[in-house]
Amino acid sequence: MAIEVRIPTILRTYTGGEKAVDASGGTLGAVIDDLEGNHPGIKERLIDTKDGSSDLRRFINIYVNDEDVRFIGGLEAELKDGDQVVVLPAVAGG
């Protein structure tokens, strides 16, 4: 068992065109680190690191089992095998 991560079109350059990839980890942060191991460069597109602290990028939405992770702990959100993660860039502009 693993955690399936659904990848949006714009980030599929990092996954060789795959729409979904498997990853593992007990928290969202760990899952993203695991993704980075197999798909280098993807983490930087999801996470903003400044002043030594990391957070999800403002215009990236990540959902665990249909819940926006901002409401369930962000990068600390707990995951288990079989969970489904969806990454969707915001549709936004000015």
Binding site: P8, T9, I10, F59, N61, Y63, D66, D68, R70, V86, L88, P89, A90, V91, A92, G93, G94
Partner: protein, 144 residues
Amino acid sequence: MLTIDQATYDGIVAHAKRDHPDEACGIVAGPEGSDRPTRLVEMVNAAGSPTFYEFDSTELLALYKQMWDRDEEPVVVYHSHTATEAYPSVTDIGLASEPGAHYVLVSTREHGNNEGPVEFRSYRIVDGEVTEEEVSVVATLSPT
């Protein structure tokens, strides 16, 4: 070139006029790979702003799940500008995340909520590069 049917075109324009002076936003979904915008989906501008738009994150997920279930993709992503021309802003370009989509901009600056022509223009936005394209409005989309 963006080819769009009259009813969908009119629907986008009506939405933009109705929501003026706030920005209106939505998509037109179509079968994956078809380049046919067939299903207009008006979205709520969660920012409720005359200078910014953003789909609500929960509604965004629901929309994409619905499209995946139907083997659709966003063929058109549209929004309105209510005080400026129908050209992508720096923010629009920076946040554009659907390289396969036609980005439609409607400007309601001339007539606001009232009758009257609007600017309706379409662009490709890929890797920060904006390319305007022709818009062809047809009575109905030709069958595939």
